[in-house]
């Protein structure tokens, strides 16, 4: 009796050991990318959009023949919208799956958390849409394909001051998000420099559901515009509660608003407000029109800027792989740093010495259910 149970235990142990050894690094005839994003949770539309953008770009690259006979492949992980999970996903991608580079994330807080790991292990990371400057400041292995918040803050500040002619602003920022805090600070700096006045500066935390106290504070301070640089779930709720409190002021925001869920959560209350973004679906440039048609055909939806930026990030990655000396992370990093004139959907992408591109921003107005209308472009 004892002997057979010992033997069965031995089998289980060996079985577990064998199961634990997964094949890593991919096959020799494939080029392995990693991807991490918030595919579930309050910012789920960011993760699903970026995933689609990456998928489309890689399928196109493979349809064009791959590279030197090798096909591109990506391993994707969901970080559930949490920084700790982003770090875990990045660690898995690098140490277990042994990817050549990683694409992700949208939220600056998570990019900063996971980017530190990528820099430590010297694996290149391309963020499609993180706009806080601290992301690429992590080190020379971290890149991005979108504009940064010192510019984005200025965009909405100029729009408020010059286009909407508003001189008194109230700020409602998300204190748990690096993106929100940074963008609010840059807006304040530029708005004050133009001669505007910040009448009140209040905060909330991501995950909060009641903003009435903060909105009552804003109402008492009597601004003529409110800057809400948060993510779409909270912004939607804020817009609703602002309407309930009869706070009839224009709300302004950043690219964190861009999601098909914004109008679902915000309902009628969010219609008529403005936010800065990376691309407009109404853009008539051939690259944009073509991309939108392809995306609509495949996913039955109009792409949001996260999908477009992820597509562009993957284009930059594929371009770097093709131009690199060899297929090692270090060589790919050098090729990425030299990225020049890559024809992305959002425009030509050239990375500067900080590994950021210089790009214009568009200001969008929420026109109706899942519809945004283009207002203006602001150049750096």
């Amino acid at each position: 009796m004892r002997k057979s149970s010992n033997i069965s235990r031995l089998f289980v142990l060996v079985g577990l050991l064998v199961a634990g050894c997964t094949k890593s690094g991919g096959d020799a005839n494939e080029i392995l990318f990693g991807e991490y994003g918030s595919m579930t949770g309050s910012e789920s539309s960011f993760g699903t959009s970026t995933h689609r953008g990456v998928e489309m770009a890689l399928d196109e690259a493979n349809a064009a023949g791959g590279f030197k006979g090798k096909k591109f492949r990506t391993i994707s992980y969901d970080d559930q919208g949490k920084s700790e999970e982003a770090v875990t996903a990045m660690t898995k991608l690098i140490t277990r799956d042994k990817v050549l580079l990683v694409i992700g994330e949208v939220a600056s807080s998570r990019s900063i958390a996971a980017g530190a790991i990528a820099q430590q292990y010297k694996i290149p990371m391309i963020s499609p849409a993180s706009t806080n400057p601290k992301v690429t400041q992590l080190g020379n292995y971290i890149f991005r394909v979108c504009f940064i918040d010192p510019f984005q803050g200025k965009v909405m500040s100029r729009f408020a001051f010059e286009n909407l002619k508003k001189k008194k602003a109230a700020i409602l920022r998300d204190i748990r998000s690096d993106y929100s805090v940074g963008l609010a600070d840059y807006f304040i700096k530029d708005f004050k420099a133009q001669g505007g006045e910040i009448v009140t500066d209040v905060a909330y935390s991501s995950g909060d559901i009641d903003f009435k106290s903060q909105l009552t504070n804003i109402r008492s301070a009597k601004p003529d515009v409110v800057f809400v640089p948060g993510y779409y779930t909270e912004v939607g709720l804020i817009a609703r509660q602002a309407k309930e409190l009869s706070l009839n002021l224009p709300l302004l925001g950043g690219d964190g608003w861009d999601s098909d869920k914004l109008t679902e959560i915000g309902g009628d209350a969010i219609v008529g407000h403005y936010f800065s973004n990376h691309y407009s679906a109404e853009d008539k440039r051939p690259a944009v029109v073509e991309f939108i048609a392809k995306y609509r055909k495949r996913y039955n939806e109009t792409p949001d800027s996260m999908a477009v930026l992820a597509f562009d990030a993957t284009l930059v990655a594929v371009d770097a792989v093709k131009k690199a000396k060899d297929l090692t992370p270090a060589s790919i990093r050098d090729a990425l740093a030299a990225t020049k004139g890559v024809p992305g959907v959002t425009g030509e992408i050239t990375l500067n010495e900080n590994r950021d591109p210089v790009k214009p921003a568009v200001v969008m107005k929420v026109a109706g259910k899942q519809r945004y209308s283009y207002v203006t472009t602001i150049n750096p």
Binding site: S205, S213, L245
Partner: protein, 301 residues
């Protein structure tokens, strides 16, 4: 002044939701002397039930009827879950040490949370606006705004607290419940069907959670599987603050907590929103350990 009044109104609406959930905690504790930690998940399931019912009955006229249907349906769903939890998880442990049942309750809570995440997905959903939000300006030259939903929440909460108190103190069933809460063994010796009373208590508490879930959904339309965690914790704090086991205490505790939150976020900062709940709890437990209306039990050694 008008900011003070606005915060008062906001706080009362928030407090109403907390009070309804706190009543569930306090009732179960009063009868069985154990904290049903799974109550917050019953609240969450009620919100999802309401979500699905509202989708199913979308477009029903008049909206008030649809709200009633959704609310009754949600209460029924919560009652079912509550009774199931009682039958499967708590009844077998009736004679076990208190700690065992407590841990079981935590287990049921975690189970329902994670089951919810698997079944419903972690992405938040939007509770449909069953009733059109209407703003009332009671004083034309003041900024003060009341919405019809806030008034409904306050009115329904107050009515239910009153109804519950009448039930417990004026009906035969209520007398039986109070007898069971004094001494369960003697009560059964007196001919009270204790099992049935306990099931009835769970039914009542869970139905209140269901009602609270719909009112919550009307005010704060973001519904997700982990929504019960924070609300449950605050409602539990409210119940303990007001004196666990006391109905009036739970109602008052909920109200005080809602008001404290509103005023703290306005006058101090939103970072202290959750901290104020626990600060109040610590304060009350230091000064009056049994809570505001709590009954100090003397144990004869």
């Amino acid at each position: 002044m008008q900011a003070f009044l606005q915060n008062l109104v906001n706080g009362m609406a928030l407090g109403g939701v907390y009070a309804l959930v706190a009543l569930g905690y306090t009732m179960v504790y009063g009868i069985l002397q154990f904290i049903n930690f799974a109550h917050s998940e019953i609240f969450m399931l009620g919100a999802f039930a309401g979500l699905f019912l509202a989708g199913y009955f979308a477009g029903m006229e008049p909206p008030a009827l649809m709200l009633c249907v959704v609310m009754v349906g949600s209460m029924a769903a919560c009652m079912a879950v509550g009774v199931l939890a009682e039958r499967l998880a708590y009844r077998p442990l009736r004679s076990a040490p208190r700690l065992n049942v407590l841990i079981t309750a935590v287990g049921v809570s975690l189970l329902l949370q994670n089951l919810g995440q698997i079944v419903f997905g972690a992405t938040p959903r939007v509770f449909p606006s069953v009733i059109e939000t209407v703003q009332y300006h009671p004083w034309p030259d003041s900024d003060l705004v009341l919405t019809n939903i806030q008034l409904i929440v306050i009115a329904v909460s107050a009515a239910l607290v009153l109804a519950l108190t009448l039930l417990v103190h004026r009906t035969k069933m209520g007398t039986a419940m109070r007898a069971v809460s004094f001494d369960i063994d003697v009560a059964s010796l007196m001919g009270i069907p204790t099992d049935r009373i306990i099931v009835f208590t769970f039914l009542l508490g869970s139905s209140l959670a269901g009602c609270a879930a719909i009112l919550y959904g009307l005010c704060y339309p973001k519904i997700e599987p982990m929504m019960g965690v924070v609300i449950g914790m605050k409602a539990f704090v409210a119940a303990v603050f007001g004196g666990i086991g006391s109905l009036a205490g739970a109602a008052l505790g909920g109200l005080v907590l809602g008001l404290a939150e509103s005023f703290t976020v306005y006058y101090i900062s939103s970072t202290f929103r959750d901290a104020i709940a626990f600060a109040l709890l610590i304060l009350v437990l230091l000064i009056r350990p049994s809570g505001l209306f709590g009954v100090t039990r003397k144990e004869k050694v």
